[in-house]
């Protein structure tokens, strides 16, 4: 970008990059979620067939670093993917757009991230 370009053009360029990155992050998080959801569901089905107890779940979460790490990745992907999807729904179906909407969606992202990580930390002990 030309250093002498007006500030408005700079803001527009940032807007273009943000729009492109939102797209990349939405698709990348979707790819991560596709894998995570399959593993998560397969694990639940496996656990139910072998007697599901709260103790067994906590024991598995604390047995190795794999499961806490897996769910940290899962939670981060959800915290990215869900607000971006809601942003599109808000824009296209409710005509909600602009700064206030983005702030609300950022708050949703933080709640999902915080709540998810808190749950993982609690189970991983």
């Amino acid at each position: 970008m030309d250093a002498r370009a007006p500030l408005a053009a700079g803001a527009a360029m940032r807007g273009v990059r943000y729009a492109a990155w939102r797209f990349v992050l939405q698709r990348a998080s979707a790819a991560v979620l596709a894998l995570c959801v399959v593993v998560h569901l397969a694990t639940i089905i496996f656990a139910v067939r072998h007697g599901l107890t709260a103790g067994a779940i906590v024991a598995r979460m604390q047995a190795s670093a794999f499961w806490p790490a897996f769910y940290v990745v899962f939670v981060i992907a959800v915290a990215i993917h869900a607000p971006l999807g809601l942003r599109t729904i808000a824009d296209e179906w409710l005509s909600l757009r602009g700064r206030a909407t983005d702030v609300a969606l950022a708050a949703i992202a933080l709640v999902l991230l915080g709540g998810g990580l808190y749950a993982v930390a609690s189970l991983a002990g």
Binding site: A12, M13, G15, V16, R17, A19, A20, W21, R22, F23, V24, R27, T88, D91, E92, W93
Partner: protein, 245 residues
């Protein structure tokens, strides 16, 4: 001796939109003929029943793209649509194209549609001058073959009128403008690549497409704007990650 009543062609009811966006359908009884097109029907109404009916057409043979209307709920070229293939219970409902301002009756203002072609940088930007030699483009090169798949668009607006995202997000550039941008992205003689990529990566650009493929299903030229938009999405994603947007 034939019964004179049998000589008269039988008629069928046709409902045609009248007025602007606040208008209403008006019913006409139109004589039914073999191999009759929807454009024939509209023309009959204008010439014989109500000369004040406004509609638009030029070539009558599927070359110009100016006669597109909504026929029984779907955007179509009226000149290439036989009444036989679209009549529901022997009736037709003919309305102007969706997603564009209605000027009068069956005529819409195409300006917003073509403004989006301009916004998507749909203009060719030459890098050579008249003193340069002809560009040598191999017909079998991947870029030229990608152009083959897109170049036949005649800008009729059927895809734009059929697109859900255009309805939900009025600043979405739409399938035709993005198909045009993809055509030029693949044109090795064009010099406006980065600016065009920025134009189609902004909010309302190619990323807004939900891949419903209504454009591809409705295109009278059997093009696939969906495939063009997918190509643009790949370019935008790559450019974002490389930091070249």
């Amino acid at each position: 001796m034939q019964n004179p009543a049998e000589d008269r062609p039988r008629t069928f009811p046709v409902r045609i939109w009248r007025g602007d966006a606040n208008g209403a359908f008006q019913q006409f009884d139109v004589p039914r003929h073999a191999s009759q097109t929807v454009l024939d029907v509209v023309t009959h109404v204008q010439r014989h029943l109500d000369p004040s009916l406004a509609y638009r057409y030029a070539c009558r043979v599927g070359m110009c793209g100016s006669c597109a209307m909504t026929v029984n709920g779907k955007a179509r070229w009226t000149c290439r649509t036989h009444v036989d293939t679209v009549a529901v219970d022997g009736t037709l409902e003919i309305a102007p194209l969706n997603h564009l301002p209605i000027l009068r009756d069956l005529v819409v203002d195409m300006a917003p549609f073509f403004d989006k072609w301009a916004a998507a940088r749909g203009q060719f930007s030459a890098t050579a001058t008249r003193r340069d030699d002809f560009a040598k483009v191999s017909p079998s090169s991947p870029a030229r073959r990608a152009i083959d798949a897109t170049i036949e668009c005649i800008g009729c607006g059927v895809c734009y009128a059929s697109c859900d995202v255009v309805e939900w997000k009025p600043d979405y550039l739409g399938p035709a403008a993005l198909n045009r941008a993809w055509t030029l992205v693949n044109d090795v003689r064009d010099g406006d690549g980065v600016a065009r990529l920025r134009a189609i990566a902004a909010d309302g650009g190619c990323q807004s497409c939900h891949t419903h493929q209504s454009c591809t299903r409705s295109c009278p030229k059997h093009l696939s704007p969906t495939a063009s938009i997918a190509g643009l999405k790949r370019l935008v994603a790559r450019a974002a990650m490389k930091g070249t947007l």
